[in-house]
């Protein structure tokens, strides 16, 4: 068995999940890494037998389609293909799996011999699969595997870029420059629900988020009510979050919302309804009117 890690990179920057994917890949023997960039960048981790550098001027913002022919050409000596569980890498691993006629496993959280554990239904349940295939691709959840130690690849080799026939290209790329952290990777998330009552009142959520350096989220009810756009939606039909601290303001705790916040280390809820289901899953609850409690809380946090 030998594993190849797909080291997603964009605009000369490695995806932070790559360090964790390298650790996961060691479950399947020796680890090589392949990185696609315009100009070579360091992949500064220990435990890499060989780093394949693939360079081409089109690779600063690669499409999923563009990296597949090269991965296919490199694939022969590898049994396991591992990447971080990102939007881009997930597609690359699925496309590669189809090319190899091999299975793929998404968002793997644990590897034990031939078994893998992965979440379903936004984490409401997990499944353990005993894999009989000898060749497969997978994406792994970064927070479930330690980051590889800093170091250097034992050898570095250039691999030729194989140009495919599919004419797709990234014609624009924009980093979202929000003053707030990104929802799915934030350490603290403050979310608001229907209890906020209006679009204007959602400023309360934003103020608390800014006081804590947090990302802003919302329940589906708040999105459906038009308080916020749906890219803020947290839950089974929105984004899955796993922050250190999750603060739910005026969120009753619908099933599909709870599924999306399950991975949070600590859940705090403020709600005036003592029977709100959110209190059953919260570590800390405050039964209070949020229009009084949140301004007070902002004052207390300033002290």
């Amino acid at each position: 068995m030998t594993a190849l890690v797909f080291a997603e990179a964009r605009n000369g920057v490695l995806h932070p999940g790559v360090a964790h994917a390298i650790t996961a890949a060691h479950a399947y023997g020796e680890v090589d890494v392949v990185v696609f960039t315009e100009h070579a960048i360091p992949v500064p981790f220990a435990g890499i037998r060989r780093l394949w550098e693939v360079s081409d001027e089109t690779l600063n913002h690669p499409t999923v389609d563009s990296v597949i022919p090269t991965l296919g050409a490199l694939s022969e000596e590898y049994t396991h293909f591992i990447a971080p569980h990102s939007t881009f890498s997930r597609s690359v691993m699925a496309r590669l799996a189809a090319r190899l006629r091999a299975p793929m496993f998404s968002d793997v959280q644990a590897i034990d011999g031939t078994s893998i554990t992965r979440p379903c239904y936004a984490g409401a349940v997990c499944e353990v699969l005993n894999v009989t295939a000898h060749r497969m691709t997978m994406t792994v959840r970064a927070s479930s595997f330690a980051a590889a130690q800093p170091g250097l690849p034992a050898t570095i080799e250039a691999a030729p870029f194989v140009c495919g026939v599919i004419e797709s290209s990234v014609t624009a790329s924009e980093e979202v420059t929000s003053a707030r952290p990104e929802l799915t990777t934030a350490k603290v998330v403050v979310s608001g629900g229907r209890g906020l009552g209006s679009k204007e009142n959602f400023a309360l959520v934003e103020n608390l988020a800014d006081a804590l350096g947090a990302a802003v989220g919302a329940s589906r009810a708040a999105v459906d009510a038009g308080f916020v756009p749906n890219d803020l939606q947290v839950g089974q039909t929105g984004k899955t979050v796993a922050p250190q601290i999750y603060i739910a303001l005026g969120i009753s705790g619908a099933v599909q919302h709870l599924a999306g916040i399950k991975g949070s280390k600590t859940i705090i809820a403020i709600n005036k309804d003592p029977n709100a289901p959110i209190f059953k899953v919260a570590d800390y609850g405050l039964m209070a009117d949020l229009f009084e409690a949140v301004p007070q809380l902002l004052n207390e946090l300033k002290k």
Binding site: D65, L96, P103, A133, S169
Partner: protein, 244 residues
């Protein structure tokens, strides 16, 4: 241009998925099912392409056992012109589904497949990319804006780092993310009309084998403190304690 929209049947998102008594599958018996919400967004986009005169026909597809037809009736009620049920019993892996869809896409000579970015049951998100590879087509994932002009797709996509625009000449696969649109509500007359729309059933066969067995399905254990705080002061102290 003919657009295909695969429709998956999943547990209604209002409900909690639970393991079965044997603890080796998710319990589906007696559980309310509904179309995968991301597939409804994909269908809505296909219908808008038709209303804009870009698509000529919208065909909803489902792969699986007989109850899939119920899901397809929802697609017809939303406005799909016709539906095709590719009937095959039992669990399928992503590669099998992609292969079955590939054969249909070729047979129907579709130029575009619009589909949900993932299904809310397995959360795997593999079939669109596998289908693209098996067809040798371009793909754009997690779309929040789709424009098709003179056979060329310009797709604004959600990406981990922000947003990006992917362009390609058709044919291709586009997956729908939440922000793309809000699916239309279905009225009673449309539901009745859907009963008479063509729903064709064809037997499908799986070419590849499933190379895993599901040995366990479990609810991740979580111990929550469930502590009710008396006032805002203690809440502030708790937050400060967690942050330090």
């Amino acid at each position: 241009m003919r657009v295909l929209v695969p429709f998956k049947r999943t547990i209604d998102y209002h409900l909690t998925a639970r393991p079965n008594a044997a603890g080796n599958a998710v319990e589906l018996a007696g559980v309310k099912m509904a179309p995968n919400p991301f597939d409804e967004i994909a269908l809505e986009e296909a219908l808008r392409l038709k209303e804009a005169g870009i698509a000529t026909e919208v065909v909803a597809i489902a792969v699986g056992d007989t109850p899939m037809q119920e899901t397809l009736r929802t697609a017809l009620a939303m406005g799909a012109d016709r539906a095709i049920h590719l009937e095959i019993p039992g669990e399928l892996c992503s590669l099998q589904v992609a292969d079955i869809l590939k054969n249909l896409v070729l047979k129907e000579q579709a130029q575009l497949v619009l589909m949900g970015k993932q299904a809310i049951d397995t959360d795997a998100g593999q079939v669109p990319s596998m289908l693209a590879e098996l067809l040798g087509w371009a793909q754009a994932n997690n779309a929040f804006k789709v424009a098709i002009v003179e056979g060329r797709a310009t797709v604004a996509c959600e990406a981990d780092h922000g947003v990006e625009t992917v362009e390609f000449p058709l044919p291709g696969i586009i997956t729908a993310d939440l922000r793309l649109n809000t699916p239309r509500l279905v009225s009673m007359p449309q539901i009745i009309k859907a009963r008479t729309k063509p729903l064709q059933t064809e037997a499908a066969t799986a070419k590849y084998t499933i190379s895993y067995t599901r040995t366990q399905v479990f609810v991740p254990q979580q111990t929550r403190q469930n502590k009710i705080l008396p006032d805002v002061t203690s809440l502030a102290a708790t937050i400060k304690g967690l942050q330090s």
